[in-house]
Symmetry: C2
Subunit: 379 residues, 2 copies
């Protein structure tokens, strides 16, 4: 695999130790009507909480990351944002108390479809309710209540995390002093919905999926592998692959229908790795939550849901919006649109556009272009 | 399905009647070393062949079309280029004798994986050899030999057909007077290879695929459906879907993991329709042939194959190259690159760039912007 490991690679290590668990013992009502009888939220932290509890930065993750944003004594593995969070880093833990949570619906310690349903004593599977980005951040607010943190110095996230960052500032404007939203959008647009839909279809087409009730049996690995291969295409960009792989073949052998070009070996590797790290049902539910995301003003006929609060017009804190020109999952016009809608709503917006070859994954890779605007906003 | 049928829709009718079959009874050696003991090529024609046999326009199809480019007495169904070919149309059958063939490797009358292998008397399945775009056009040349046609007035195609159009003029420069290549490229780039690879993986991940030996049993419909859904994303564009579907839901019911938004219903419909029309193994082999396409000069280490002839530098006839700004499968920089490489090689090139919302499928939809430059070149 030496050829395909050339070039930077995000770390998506499965981290199943060294986190704290917040247990909420009361029923949690989800936006679309389902109820979780109780919930757990896995979280990790770095730095020291000030006496006034006024130095908190809350990190929101993308679809596939755990709460392990950075290594620490209880878990020395590098985190998914290892170089962005720490002493002297853009999110400086000498000054800030940084919290990162595993998503509601996830599989790295927070309650999700693989968790045991206390009512039935078996995993929720597809009895898990439909959840939304609003549900995810409402679960985070319960954790902040528990910790006695009234107000965040900042809410920071990229991709799905960038959606959460916006949503938190929209539903709890009194509790967020500033927000960072990277490579996200004001709503999920149909092309992104289409890309995620087909990934979900790949999982659900696998006979091993069994309507989600695969726990204790073989997992739908083939389907999840295809889904992740497709996802990987949407996370990176053509120019990067042109430079990195070109039309290089993986071997000198004659072509075949299966893996052949180096770019194919790379995709297969990403797909295989992910299968061993992620619960397929978590993938379905979190992917769906991304599709449902919309903080624009409702348009008649476009969306029948009754919003419980939480639109861009509710945001009151200053915001840093970051877009990447080569992103094909959340194309840069969507971050421009987001910045523009927020300004129209009276929000003070710094908009930063990055010209990187790394597409949607740029936030995991480019420390300077992504990190420095965050540092400026936080200070 | 009224909501999803709004807007133009390409016709991909399965046409299994009204074509002629050219039978070649000798072994056909494929570029990568496999041998077909014999081959059939399905073809249809429109207009009258001139006495001098000098008014022939050869049409090359994309991956999924049959030889039925236009309706005729023996098959009145509308063809895939119904409005582009005919009396008074951009490809005017009052003047030209127009031939369209089904692809070698296809499933609409030409020899492909579903054809009976005369050696074993069962379908080839995955004993079918790896084929290339060069093999496809070499089979067409055998048909032209059979018909006594020495030279084409024009070679015309889009997508995979645009690749064939280039390849034919490259391997038989004496036999092509002018060529049209729409929404194609000088070679398949890694992002396009990646998109097709994942589609093939979706088919091959379906347990019903059975290493390709599914004939007489259940077909891998679930896998092909997912593949076509993904393909459909690459054929259209975000702006069109934004206009057509927005974030409209298919019903007023609460969200669910399966089809929900209208764009999802549309994709599912496209996937279902295709499953009933196309052989999954043909899909694999033809998709692979597209990945292998390269008429650029070989770069050291990039490609180990020994080219049997056929690069851009061999082309001698004038060419019309057409690109579409919203194409995400063959992005417009690839047609610009193609036009530029051909000019460097001394070819007279007309380059036309279309600003359409229909992405890669524009050639099936926009009669004027696509058709008129073709008409000009032909006359």
């Amino acid at each position: 695999m030496t050829e395909v490991s050339a070039g930077p690679e995000p770390e998506y290590e499965r981290v199943v130790s060294g986190y704290d668990t917040f247990h909420y013992a009361k029923p949690f009502e989800c936006e679309w009507g389902g109820v979780l009888p109780e919930l757990n939220l896995a979280w990790e932290s770095w730095g020291e909480l000030s006496e006034e509890k006024d130095n908190v930065v809350l990190l929101h993750t993308g679809l596939s990351a755990s709460s392990h944003a950075r290594s620490h004594d209880r878990n020395p593995h590098p985190g998914w944002w290892e170089d962005f969070v720490g002493p002297g880093c853009p999110i400086d833990t000498r000054r800030f108390f940084v919290i990162c949570t595993n998503l509601l619906g996830g599989c790295y310690g927070s309650t999700g479809p693989s968790s045991t349903n206390p009512v039935s004593d078996v995993p929720y599977a597809t009895d898990f309710p439909i959840i939304t980005v609003q549900d995810m951040v409402r679960a985070q607010l319960l954790l902040l209540d528990h910790l006695g943190i009234d107000k965040l110095h900042a809410s920071v996230g990229a991709s799905l995390g960038g959606m959460q960052s916006l949503m938190l500032a929209a539903i709890a404007p009194d509790r967020v002093d500033r927000l960072v939203s990277i490579s996200a959008a004001a709503c999920s647009h149909p092309q992104s919905i289409a890309m995620r839909f087909v990934q979900r279809q790949a999982v659900m087409a696998d006979p091993d999926w069994r309507e989600g009730r695969y726990y204790g049996e073989s997992f739908p690995h083939r389907g999840l592998r295809v889904a992740r291969e497709m996802g990987t295409i949407t996370y990176r960009s053509g120019p990067e692959w042109m430079e990195r792989f070109g039309r290089k073949r993986a071997s000198g052998k004659p072509p075949r229908l299966d893996e052949d070009f180096q770019v194919e070996t790379y995709l297969a590797y990403q797909g295989d790795k992910f299968c061993l790290q992620y619960d397929p049902n978590s993938y379905l539910y979190i992917s769906k939550a991304m599709d449902l995301f919309d903080v624009t003003d409702p348009k008649a006929g476009d969306d029948e849901r009754v919003r419980q609060g939480g639109g861009l017009t509710d945001i009151r804190c200053p915001a840093l919006i970051v877009g990447v020109k080569s992103d094909i999952l959340f194309p840069v016009w969507q971050q421009r649109e987001l910045a523009s809608l927020m300004r129209e709503a009276g929000v003070s917006v710094i908009y930063s556009e990055i010209d990187s070859p790394y597409g949607h994954d740029t936030f995991l890779i480019e420390l300077e272009t992504v990190g420095e605007p965050i540092r400026s906003l936080l200070e």
